[in-house]
């Protein structure tokens, strides 16, 4: 049984400008100790997928319209707020994109790091403090005894992300959701933070969901990849399989867009157009208008279904996107 098994998750935001279908029929699963990537452009629904399972989207306007999310056999979507709160920060933790704004500037770092222990394990300050110091030491922060008394603005961006990692892992969670943990960091720091997440993951045996738009990061750390576009999964496969044999036109376009793989001096390849407005999305393949290969073949009358074309390799069944074009 997978640690987390999401089936057919649907999330919508009911706004003044119409219903935004942020997540439509997403299914994914995470095995114990596995690292699963969710890749996609901004607004493709990768964060909302994870936030909605944990009750972290504002409701209203957000609404979970269907699906299940079984975590260790229990459906997160059916839990009460108190039950979910008992899981958040204890069995499922999160780290976020921007370490500059994700820590509370008005609280000492130590108080923030030990907060999960105090809430979930009922430890008093004196009991939690040595653990917080140890946790900071484990993520490579020097002089943790002094650093616990400091405020976030006294830390650099990379150090703050280390604090976030220490804070999220202090309760030894079974699942860590990392929402673009390296996007806001310098390239040199990115590698260190990724290595640190992997190292902590190995030490604690946690599973990781890595939300990112950086395919290089995915290829480096993930076991399994889900590609999202316009609120739907377009393709999911084990990482090696996906990079060897991308079947969907969107996945292929994403890979063509990796700057390092393109000839030097040439114009960088970008996917034409913009992601569609999720409030105005009609039926049919959402990638149709941007598909430079052979979008004229894409489905227009009905949404493409997900089919399994190889063991563990699923893709949206749209003729225009599956057919390898010559563009």
């Amino acid at each position: 049984m997978p640690l987390l098994d999401v089936q057919n998750l649907r999330v919508a935001f009911h706004t003044r400008n119409g219903v935004v279908r942020a997540v439509t029929g997403v299914s994914l699963s995470v095995e114990k100790g596995q690292t699963v990537g969710i890749v996609g452009e901004s607004g493709s629904g990768k964060s909302v997928t994870c936030y909605s399972m944990l009750g972290l989207i504002p409701m209203p306007p957000g609404r979970i319209e269907g699906g299940t999310a079984n975590f260790d056999g229990v459906d997160l979507l059916k839990m009460s707020r108190a039950e979910l709160r008992a899981i958040r920060g204890r069995r499922i933790s999160m780290i976020f994109q921007d370490p500059m704004t994700s820590l509370n500037p008005y609280m000492r770092v130590g108080d923030q790091v030990m907060e999960p222990l105090r809430i979930h394990e009922g430890l008093c300050k004196a009991e939690a403090l040595p653990k917080a110091i140890a946790a900071l030491a484990e993520v490579g922060i020097k002089n943790p005894e002094e650093r616990v008394r400091q405020y976030p603005h006294e830390f650099s961006g990379g150090m703050r992300q280390r604090v976030m990692i220490a804070m999220s892992m202090i309760t030894r969670p079974e699942l860590l959701i990392a929402d673009e943990p390296t996007t806001a960091l310098d390239v040199t720091i990115q590698k260190q933070v990724l290595d640190l997440i992997k190292e902590r993951q190995r030490a604690l045996g946690s599973a990781v969901i890595l939300i990112t738009h950086d395919l290089a990061v995915v290829s480096e750390v993930c076991d399994y990849v889900n590609v999202m576009y316009a609120g739907r999964l377009v393709e999911s496969a084990p990482v090696g399989e996906l990079f060897r044999n991308p079947r969907h036109a969107y996945t292929r376009s994403l890979m063509r867009s990796i700057p390092a793989l393109q000839p030097k001096g040439g114009t960088l390849y970008t996917i034409p157009g913009m992601p569609p407005d999720l409030a105005k999305l009609g039926p049919g393949c959402a990638f149709r208008v941007r598909n430079a290969e052979n979008g004229y073949l894409c489905l227009t009358d009905r949404d493409p279904e997900i089919i399994e074309i190889a063991p563990g390799h699923r893709v949206q069944n749209c003729p225009g996107c599956l057919e390898r074009g010559n563009a």
Binding site: R85, R88, S93, S102, N104, P105, Y106, M107, P116, M164
Partner: protein
Amino acid sequence: MLRFTVSRLLQAIVVVFAVFTLTFFMVRLAPGDPLATEKAIHPDVKRSLQERYHLDKSLPEQYALTLKSYFAGDLGPSMKHQGMWNAKIISDSWPVSLTIGLMALIIAVAIGIPAGVIAAVRRNTWVDNSAMSMALLGICLPGFVMGPLLIALFGIKLRWFNVGGWYEATDWVLPAATMGIIYAAYIARLTRGGMLEILNQDFIRTARAKGVPELKIVTHHALRGGLIPVVAYLGPALAGITTGSFIIETIYNLPGLGSHFVNAAVNKDYTLVLATTVLFATLLVFVNFFTDILVAWLNPKVRLT
């Protein structure tokens, strides 16, 4: 901290001195004359009065004499209140204003901050809407409307309090309530704004992701930052509210300091205008100093230099 205190003290001296100088010359620039009366007075009497208040001397001489007496702690005699010293006028009336002002402030904070916090937490619900409508009403209703309304209800109809005057131990209640409700409305709106800004920050999402209960998110994670605009407003407001309000004192017939600010200026009571203005400036500078310390304590990013 020591450097901060010393530098702010020096600043305070400069500010108060500037206020003193400006006020001294500006009251004398205004048309009219403190000794002008409807009845004609004998030239000898007028001359002796001018002598008593140094009005016969040149402006620089008057200025030097007044400055000297202020340094000696002497605020001089009032020009309009016969035989009264300004220091005595202030020490008689200020306690009244101070009592009412502090009580009004307590009422304002006790109503305004909880109302603002609840409105922010329950934003865009009926709770928020009704709290903010009440606040808007409180801001829009001037003291000279609110005061008589409270008098009509609690003074005349229910007879819980005196309708005015300063005789019994409960006489502060109605004037303090009138001022307090108006300030509570401002504070509620400021608190709501400050809390909303903080509650939309990323670190509140982090706290939720850690499983922090909603109430603790408000009290532990949001309140400290959310109250900074309120504290920054309350500092200067404290100086204004504790030196009395002309309107409130007129409505409730109170012997407070607020009416002296207005009456002294109308009466061309040069020395009393100067004394009350310098007092207010000193108080304001003092209160701002403490506000800055409090804001620095609330916000660890602020350094006192």
